[in-house]
Amino acid sequence: MLPKKIKIDVRKFHFKGSSIVVGIPYLWLLVFFLCPCLILLKISFANSALQVPPYSAIFKWLDDNIAQLTFNVANYRLLFTDELYVRTFLTSTVIAAGSALACLLIGYPMAYAIVRSGRKTRMIMLMLVVLPFWTSFLMRVYAWVMLLAPTGVINNILLYLGVIDHPLKLMGNYCAVIIGIVYTYLPFMVLPVYSSLEKIDKSIIEAAQDLGCAPTKVFFSVVAPLSMRGVATGIFLVFMPAIGEYVMPEILGDPSTVTIGRIVWNEFFTNLSWPVASALSVIMIIFVAIPVTLWHSGRQSRLNKRAGQV
């Protein structure tokens, strides 16, 4: 048995054109995603130090024969014990979840309207959804500052109309941050929902009507379940960047809206505490990656189960 086990399949070492094509994305992910992540992980176990780069090495030769590997878990302990960080995580989660929900509530009807419209208007509407991407991201965020500021457009109009007698505080709260995120990330919700709605065979909807289902009920019993994949993709695409968002809370929020993005910035650039910032990032990656992986593997196992039944 043993020789059989160590026998190497030579075919594996033949390089084919297809393996190169498939290999490029893997190589890309390895160099630009996995390596940085490992470096991040390494830094998160180091000590802050006054040197360049500003952290201690975790691997050291004590003498010729003994190597020392030091894992400093103080950074992680800090994150779980200091109330500031816990609160920050909660704030970010609330903002990201709120943004994803708001995107869904606005984006789903938009996508639905686009799918239901005629061929020509459909193209125009899709263009309009993507159009804001053509202007600078910062410009769009500052546009919201112009609208929401105490002396901004909205307050001025309301003051002029006499609806209010002193400016409302529209900025510097969760709501403003969510508005900014929703405005920026809405296409990430609209496009996947649109593509999942577009794939639904029109005759399936007609069949539901034909079987006695009223139009509103057709939506909830047929259209909505069949577009769930697009909704899930949209939620992830909005939630994931939103949870680490730095610019929006910085510009549209106030010092009280402390999010993970801002605190990472602070640790890196103000406190020069790379290890704490790294630990924060690692926790965030885990925080985001776990639900995604669970959802994905759940879907995979459902698919496998389906395949198994055939």
Partner: protein
Amino acid sequence: MAAKSRHLNKIEPWHDPEERPYVYIENLTKDYDGSIAVDEVTLSVYRGELFSLLGRSGCGKSTLLRMLAGFEIPSSGRIYIDGIDMSGIPPHRRPVSMVFQSYALFPHMNVEQNVAFGLKQEKLPKSQINERVNDVLELVQMLDFKKRKPHQLSGGQRQRIALARSLVKRPKLLLLDEPLAALDKKLREKTQLELVNIQEEVGITFIMVSHDQEEAMTMASRIGIMADGRIIQVGTPTEIYEYPNSKYVSNFVGTINMFEGVVMEEEENYAVVRSSVLDEINIMVEHSTSAAIGAHVSIAIRPEKVVISKRPPKDRNYNCVKGIVQDIVYLGDVSIYHVELANGRIVYSTATNLFRIAERPIQWDDEVYLYWLPENSILLTA
């Protein structure tokens, strides 16, 4: 004799003047911004019929079906089902169910849920839903596949589920849009007969759209031939095949030999037509359509009714022409002989292969006589 005719009226209700049509379509027109898909169609379908709308793609048959289901709103005209005017009634309130060409099964539901969907909309008690779902799945022999999802079924199985999902609602009218088009030939032939058996068992009126004339001939009680948005002939498969009312129908259903000619004589039972393509000989035709002397008409004769022989017929009643065998198309059970007349016109004759091919009495380049009885040919004016 009276009893027999009453019985005939029961299976052929369209012959009974007192029978009320179950589905009555009156002057129905569908106009898509100037292009007319369905043009002034009037049609009666009787209870328990399996009516087939037959026509080439784009002839308006699917539009007509979709108007019956309520998916398209007629530009003018009315539809009555069981005496009730359907105008303004949305699809989900019509006593009609449709089997889609793509089957349109709900991909996120299993077979049982798909079939129960329509009954759930009626808010029936669960026990009753289960009972009816089981009954109908047994009828289409799919009881063992209850928990499968549509993508785990073969084309034929999906077709059965689509049928079951519609039948379980016990609609007054079942519409089938090319129900067998997605199946392969062998399965299609098997399913045709199954579908007819199921229809007879449940007694629901079926209206089926098809572009396959063989399918329509096999299944339908009556066929409506459609072209350019109009129904040009309605009749039983036999009537459509043996007595087509126009060149279009005779060409569309089966193959036919067609000769242009001029009416020379008109007698009580037959007309004499002189046709330049048939060597200027006089051809006798049994005629049901009236044609004046001197009128330009067409004589049509089905290839299987043309006898091919090396000897001329003894009986003087036969119409007879002479020609040379150009081609023999061997189809196993029958052969189609392409016979060229002296003037170059090709006449087709189908003969059963009574002998093995090597012993076939008629071969290429043989001089043959083609003859047929007057009552087997058709006089067409349109």
